[in-house]
Symmetry: C2
Subunit: 176 residues, 2 copies
């Protein structure tokens, strides 16, 4: 089933992603074109605070021109390990440090064309501290009870893949 690259064209080399166009050979011997977005990967953290509230960040998402309510997340710096990145993003976006971060799943959000893998962790043993945002990062930290979070999900207010998955995981973990 493998699609071998026969020709590779670099379309764009950006800060967040690169774009390439590959001519590939198909299992039936034909060729086809694949347009691909290469991304370094990202991490996200499910944070349940001492009052059993989920901690989320609300920010503007330019790609769809709307505010979005999401669990804390960020992209991997070059050469950075996912776990270290998750610790860093957690502290930058919420001020929290965690005794441990446990991976709950890894996912591809757009497997048809994009290499971005997101590793999602759950934070255990939180200590509160100071937020420390990137220069061009603007976000509001929000806290919601379990029932509120499930309601936001059921009403379709939450539309971010990692956040939907994380809240479902939270629901399932409470039912086990």
């Amino acid at each position: 089933m493998e699609e071998k690259t026969i020709e590779r064209e670099v379309i764009y080399q950006g800060k967040i992603f690169d774009v390439e166009k590959h001519v590939v050979s198909l299992p039936n011997g034909n060729t086809s074109v694949r347009e691909l977005v290469y991304h370094n990967g990202a991490v996200a953290v499910l944070v349940i605070d001492e009052s059993d509230n989920i901690v989320m960040v609300e920010q503007y998402r330019k790609a769809f021109e709307s505010m979005s309510l999401e669990i804390p997340a960020g992209k991997l710096e070059k050469g950075e390990e996912p776990l270290a990145s998750a610790e860093r993003e957690l502290e930058e976006e919420t001020g929290y440090t965690a005794e441990s971060l446990e991976k709950i799943f890894s996912f591809y959000g757009a497997p048809g064309f994009c290499s971005e893998r997101v590793d999602v962790y759950v934070a255990k043993g939180l200590s509160a501290g100071e937020m420390n945002l990137d220069e061009d990062e603007f976000l509001n930290v929000k806290r919601y009870s379990f029932d509120e979070a499930v309601d936001l999900l059921d009403r379709g207010i939450i539309t971010d893949a990692k956040t939907i998955m994380a809240i479902q995981w939270w629901q399932l973990s409470r039912l086990k």
Copy 2:
């Protein structure tokens, strides 16, 4: 919190997506650059057959050079309604037609840079028929029991966002 576009550069106009680079104004008056992937959107369908098995498709994903096990899905054709697209993809990839498709959620898989919204449906009232794949589409239809699907999820074999969400939704719907 809105980020207004001040300058817009079209980097690439492809078949699957376009790429643009925007200079935006930030809430603090500074400017920043956003690299953006514009995608027409997609649909996916959770299919539980008459034997209570989930129907998935296994295919090669060039973006991360691996096989991937996913619920049936596809991109919206130009001007196509999501519901019509879901009916079409369901029939093309699995041969099934459904009495009704009910939307269970919409998500953005890569909200930091990509506009692709995926609408996920659950199929009700299935009738079996013939598959009808696109010319350059190669996939194996696979069926798994509830326990097998949950095990594939727990072991991290399933890494596709829409499929993780759909299986968790299935788990939650059985617990309600």
